[in-house]
């Protein structure tokens, strides 16, 4: 359409000047419903959420809502439980997303390229199955796996290794493992696609130059899939930051506050302690953490170009 207007015959420039401003809103018309829907259902809740974060709205106990300025945020920063939740969120993200899902996904993708077809199909099937299972089902499965009378301890017993009360002694590690189990498939798929894009000649050239497997991985493969790594890290991290169902089903953030990441803390404050306003403020802070991560990864991706 834009091209068509530009190639209009020159002799009638006046008309063009007059119609252009009138035409532009007309051209927007087909998009209007979409825009309205977006503003209503995407922008609306976000704006409402931002508003609530500055109020003392409660689920029960108070009939009206007051504007309280930055009180919710100062309260959060001064709260030891909130700081604990931030630290645990970072640990959880670092451990399960960046170290776990990302590295394991890459390793699986690399190994599967060399594997025979049946092995590849089988491994791929199993890993993707973990991803297909709904979050809450995965949560209960892994709860059954990690709990004191669960599968893991039965296996350890059978191997004559000391059993552990995983969900009690190191719950953050248990939920991190759970998240790795669930999310690795995504990384694996992204990396499989990326590795398939590397031209055969380059790998062969490196081989001819005498580069071993590890050197090839470090100097050829990784730089070539750098953009995929960036995309994958960003998607993984953002998804992991907001994991709630998995942790809630496995530990409810406990015992004590030992696995209480920000989303769990937020739910606890907003719905169990009825402090909707404060919970929303925490949600905004969580958004901020996510934004920080995305900025870092976006930078990483841009440098290459």
């Amino acid at each position: 359409m834009a091209a068509a207007t530009r190639t209009e015959p020159a002799p009638r420039p006046r008309l063009r000047v007059r119609t252009a401003p009138r035409r532009r809103p007309l051209r927007w018309l087909p998009l209007a419903p979409a825009t309205v829907l977006m503003v209503l259902f995407l922008g609306g809740p976000i704006a409402y959420c931002c508003y609530m974060a500055f109020t003392d709205m409660q689920l029960t106990g108070s009939p009206d809502t007051h504007f309280v300025g930055l009180d919710n945020f100062t309260q959060a920063l001064g709260d030891a439980d909130f700081r604990n939740a931030v630290v645990l969120t970072l640990v959880f993200t670092l451990l399960s997303s960046i170290v776990g899902q990302n590295t394991l996904g890459l390793a699986l993708a690399v190994l599967m390229r060399r594997a025979s077809r049946p092995v590849r199909t089988l491994t791929g099937g199993v890993v993707v199955a973990a991803w297909v299972v709904p979050e809450i089902v995965a949560g209960f499965l892994l709860y059954a796996f990690f709990r004191r009378e669960g599968t893991l301890n039965a296996v350890l017993d059978w191997l004559r290794l000391p059993s552990q009360n995983w969900l009690y002694t190191l719950p953050i590690l248990a939920v991190s493992f759970a998240n790795v189990w669930r999310g690795t498939a995504f990384s694996m798929l992204v990396y499989s696609a990326a590795l398939a894009e590397i031209p055969q000649e380059i790998t062969e050239a490196a081989e001819v130059d005498g580069a071993g497997g590890l050197r090839r991985l470090w100097h050829v493969t990784l730089p070539m899939i750098r953009r995929s790594i960036g995309t994958n890290l960003m998607l993984n991290t953002l998804q992991t930051l907001s994991v709630f169902g998995l942790i809630w089903a496995m530990t409810r953030g406990g015992p004590g506050h030992r696995s209480e990441t920000l989303p769990v803390y937020m739910y606890d404050q907003a719905f169990l302690k009825a402090l909707i306003g404060y919970g929303t403020a925490v949600a905004l802070l969580l958004l901020l953490v996510g934004a920080l991560f995305s900025v870092v990864f976006l930078r990483l991706m841009r440098e290459e170009v």
């Binding site: 359409m1 018309l29 087909p30 419903p33 979409a34 309205v36 829907l37 409660q58 689920l59 029960t60 106990g61 108070s62 009939p63 309260q75 709990r147 004191r148 009360n165 969900l167 009690y168 409810r252 406990g254 015992p255 004590g256 506050h257 030992r258 606890d268 719905f271 169990l272 302690k273 009825a274 402090l275």
Partner: protein, 451 residues
């Protein structure tokens, strides 16, 4: 590009129309929506069955009118959050809700409930209710918002067979906390494989932990240890709270209680009633008067010999100081929501629920302590359950929780303090201090210095 535009437009229009359709309420003026909590134990459905029965009675007596029962099967905290969310909007608000009386003040303050005084004035049965029960449904404005259907008391249940093996008496009557702990230690030593004592604890258990666990201890340490009703102020963590938390710490540090991860499970109360006590795995349970409901023939886990196997003892005060024993009482009430558009019909359903006959049946199957004189005098009630005389006798010593809108938040803070000492993350003194700090955030300007 152009040809697709009408398509998109049409799709968007359909979508908006659909969404608008979802928003429209399907409210039938002749249907009363009743929300109640269904037991998380799938074998226990006596409440559901009774309500179905009352629903039939009501629909027969009021032709054309309908009752829609909406059970919510969830742990208590989640039930409350769900109901509060429903009551926020007139699109989702039910007409009648079943509420724990400790949340009523809070929901009254939030404007979710409707005063019932107009109906109560002309209701004959209201005169039968005990004054304390009437107070349970009263808001700070002096109006009544809930009709209680029973109350409860709390004490110690103990397994006489395990006690016999441990060489403890069958008519056990501990005089102070130390004697309770000593009995538990004896069981641990003499009867291995049995959990000596259960004290509910932790956030997941919610009010169960706080009321059956901590408050049963706390109210045995002195006068008004939690809230000063005259000054209308909360007490920050003092010696009483530290000692009560110390008791919890001792139970879990000396491994006198269940495994900590079991104790912190949100369904611990179901496990005590359905597994640990009937299977003879638990010697002493600090628990409520209603436990027998689980083991009746009509209950989920019939256990005919429970009344001879289990004994009951009052929970003693800390050092045996007068009056020597302590109990806590709560209960649930029926309330009409503020956003209900057919309160009259909803009230009629409360009247049907609280007909003398239904009230007796309710207290019997629910193992409640009667709050109505006519029910308490009923032969069916008095002979319903062994032990009912014992728990009714505790009413003289019982305490009620502070009926303030911020109590649920204070309760949550207490549960956190309990969980911290149970896991060993904090000492009792640290947990009490941290509770004091939270109290200042919950009720600014309404906190007394600790004693």
């Amino acid at each position: 590009m152009r040809p697709t535009a009408p398509l998109i437009l049409a799709a968007a229009l359909v979508a908006t129309a659909g969404l608008a359709g979802c928003g429209g309420s399907d409210d039938d003026p002749d249907t009363v929506k009743v929300v109640y909590n269904r037991s998380t134990d799938n074998a226990i459905r006596f409440k559901d069955r009774l309500l179905e029965d009352v629903k039939k009675q009501f629909e027969k007596a009021h032709p054309g009118k309908k009752i829609k029962l909406i059970p919510i099967q969830a742990a208590d905290n989640d039930y409350a959050a769900k109901v509060q969310q429903m009551m926020r909007s007139s699109k989702t608000a039910p007409d009648l809700v079943y509420e724990d009386t400790f949340r009523i003040s809070s929901d009254i303050a939030a404007g979710y409930l409707r005063p019932l005084d107009g109906y109560l004035k002309s209701w004959d049965s209201w005169g039968q209710f005990a004054p304390t029960a009437k107070a349970a449904g009263r808001g700070e404005d002096g109006r009544t918002y809930g009709v209680p259907d029973g109350t409860d008391t709390r004490g110690l249940w103990f397994n006489k067979q395990i006690f016999a093996r441990a060489g403890l008496p069958a008519d056990w009557r501990p005089k102070n906390w130390d004697e309770v702990l000593d009995a538990a230690r004896t069981v641990k030593e003499k009867v291995p494989g049995v959990t000596p004592i259960n004290v509910f604890t932790g956030k997941a258990g919610g009010e169960t932990s706080v009321m059956q666990g901590l408050e049963m201890l706390l109210y045995g340490t002195g006068q008004d240890p939690l809230y000063d009703p005259r000054a209308r102020k909360w007490r920050a963590g003092g010696a009483g709270l530290r000692d009560a938390l110390g008791f919890v710490r001792t139970v879990y540090a000396e491994k006198l209680g269940p495994d900590v991860s079991d104790a912190l499970n949100p369904n611990a109360n179901t496990a005590v009633a359905n597994e640990w006590l009937p299977d003879g795995k638990l010697a002493i349970a600090l628990d409520g008067s209603w436990l027998g409901q689980h083991w009746l023939d009509t209950g989920g886990h019939p256990w005919p010999r429970w009344s001879t196997t289990l004994g009951q003892a009052p929970m003693p005060t800390q050092h045996g100081q007068p009056p020597g024993r302590v109990s806590m009482s709560g209960g649930w009430a029926w309330a009409i929501t503020a956003k209900s558009d057919k309160p009259d019909l909803a009230w009629k359903f409360i009247e049907t629920l609280q007909s003398r006959d239904n009230a007796v049946r309710w207290d019997v199957v629910n193992a409640q302590i009667a709050v109505r004189q006519d029910v308490a005098a009923d032969r069916r009630y008095r002979t319903a359950m062994p032990g009912i005389a014992f728990f009714t006798g505790l009413v003289r010593y019982t305490h009620y929780r502070p009926a303030t809108p911020d109590y649920p938040q204070v309760s949550a803070a207490l549960a956190e303090a309990m969980e911290a000492v149970t896991t060993g993350d904090s000492t009792p003194a640290e947990a009490a201090d941290s509770y004091g700090g939270k109290l200042k955030e919950i009720a600014p300007g309404a906190v007394l210095k600790s004693r």
